[in-house]
């Protein structure tokens, strides 16, 4: 049997370090065979320790893997499949309450509460619905209404174009599509968009939406038309059918081009064509056109909104009461003192019977302040002063409001 020098040295060290084999007083030194036996025993223990270490390392790796899987499961929202419907469904909304103290009214009104629902059927097919309660209580003799302001299915054609079918907000003006209270100045929506466009204006139909080039977008749709009447002096606001068993004898079309090529600047123009403004109920009224243009600028703390809109109604009926021309404009500079406080002023002028010779034009000046304690919550105050032509009464006073979106 041969032993190399290393083995013998190791044996010597082990012998010296192992109390069991320490030289006993008076005892004889271990033989080479005894040393070899000790070495074998130690070797076995080393091998056992190695196996134990490998086992521990494997367990640690297994624990790491399980921990990773647990974290991933938590991040993914738990058990596979659970919550998938909720993941594809979103709920939002907004609301606003107003206190009006003007010559025409002194009242508190929860003007609007809107609930929004969206659901993704697939990555390229979704639905959007918006239900609105106006003036807090609806039904019976109450002033309120429950309305479906939006309810459409949208299909993506590609990454630049989509189409929708259902009830949707028409692409016209600044406020018609974006009117959540924190997004605009003034307690009430401005009278020009309200009476001339007329905001909020929705209709049932189908629309194409897309992007022509970076910063350039378009909308084009065909939808239910207005149904106004001589009894209302052909005022366009009275003609909204709101997709409630809407008369579709004479459809309408709306097209918009919008440019947003520089951050903070929007310029857009809309044309709307009504093939018959009374849906054939009034032979003295015919088709009608709306032309609208606006800009919306917000550069740093400075803001400016300006809008012009004009209706041309054909037919002897509208012409006889001066409603063949209905037009208005406003200009609204604003300044944000801080991220949370902004002030504005607005000059509005509009006339729903601009085609006659009498004084039916209305003018309104507004100044006010918005305070956003949170980006989605706003407190508003403004003063309005009218300077209407002729013998029309002025409606002066102040308004307070609180609004939110989520």
């Amino acid at each position: 049997m041969k032993y190399n020098r290393l083995s013998l040295s190791l044996a010597g060290l082990l012998l010296a370090a192992t109390p069991l084999h320490a030289a006993e007083p008076g005892g004889s030194a271990p033989t080479v065979e005894e040393l070899w036996k000790i070495i074998q025993q130690q070797q076995a223990e080393i091998e056992a320790l190695k196996r134990q270490q490998q086992s521990t390392e494997q367990k640690v790796a297994d624990v790491d893997e399980k921990a990773e899987a647990a974290v991933e499961a938590v991040e993914e929202g738990g058990t596979a499949g659970a919550g998938s419907w909720a993941d594809k469904t979103t709920i939002g909304g907004y609301g606003e309450m107003h206190y009006n103290n003007t010559d025409s009214k002194e009242e508190i009104d929860f003007h609007r509460f809107v609930l929004y629902f969206g659901h993704e059927f697939t990555d390229r097919i979704r639905m959007v619905a918006e239900v609105e309660l106006e003036h807090a209580v609806a039904g019976g003799d109450n002033d309120g209404e429950v309305e479906l302001e939006q309810g459409y299915v949208e299909f993506d054609l590609n990454d630049r174009h989509s189409t929708k079918a259902g009830v949707y907000l028409l692409p016209v003006g600044i406020l018609n599509q974006t009117h959540e209270p924190p997004t605009f100045y003034g307690v009430e929506r401005n009278p020009v968009e309200k009476n001339i466009i007329p905001t909020t204006w929705w209709a049932g139909g189908a629309e194409m939406v897309g992007e022509i080039a970076p910063g350039w977008s378009y909308n084009f749709g065909v939808h239910e038309g207005l149904e106004t009447s001589a009894d209302d002096n052909y005022a366009v606001r009275k003609g909204r059918q709101k997709s409630s068993e809407a008369n579709a004898d004479h459809l309408a079309a709306t097209g918009r081009i919008k440019w947003t090529g520089i951050p903070g600047i929007e310029v857009a123009g809309t044309v709307n064509y009504q093939s018959d403004i009374t849906q054939g109920n009034d032979s003295s009224a015919d088709d009608a056109w709306l032309f609208e243009a606006h800009t919306d600028i917000q550069r740093g703390p400075y803001g400016l909104r300006a809008l012009y809109a004009r209706w041309d109604l054909n037919g002897s009926g509208p012409r006889s009461v001066g409603a063949d021309e209905q037009e208005g404009f406003y200009i609204e500079p604003s300044y944000k003192l801080t991220d949370a406080v902004g002030i504005f002023a607005r000059y509005n002028r509009w006339d729903n019977r601009a085609g006659n010779g009498s004084d039916t034009r209305k003018k309104q000046y507004d100044v006010g302040v918005n305070y956003w304690p949170h980006p989605d919550v706003v407190l508003k105050a403004d003063i309005q002063s009218q300077d209407n032509d002729g013998d029309q009464k002025n409606d002066n006073g102040f308004n307070l409001g609180v609004g939110f979106q989520f």
Partner: protein, 176 residues
Amino acid sequence: MILIRSLPLVLLLACSMALARGTYQEPADFIAETFDSSPPSPDVVWLRGETRETTTAILGHKYPSLRVRYWGDALRSAWILEEIGKDQPITVGLVVSDGRLERIKVLVFRESRGWEVRHPFFTDQFRDIGLTAGELDLNRDIDGISGATLSVRALKKLARLALYLHTRIPSGDDTP
């Protein structure tokens, strides 16, 4: 009149041509591009304690994950982050270098409105932007886009988040 009457049908028929939408660059491709096709292995910043609190403050809600994955190191890092605009998540790739935003790019946009935020004419405003010391706000104004308020807000939050998380990456000196 015939055109007007037939257009709804034409538009509805066009729906059948639907294709994929909204993915402008795959996140993996963004990472590869950022590191010249040789991306490092990803690492994570765990959202614990102060890091989680600050992340919540920046977003206005809890980040929907226990950790955030990144590529790179304390000098230059790349992030793929998501934030909801109005009702859908916007996936954004961000690169932070030396405490400044080197690049921000919208990778996947799923919202129905506000898609203008993906264009360079908007995202170029973020180049070299950093954070203020105290409030962790962006140190420059970002002009918004009318009608895309919520998408703009989402991108501003993600820019702040990436810049903040970059500071939570251990530097080489901190490595044991």
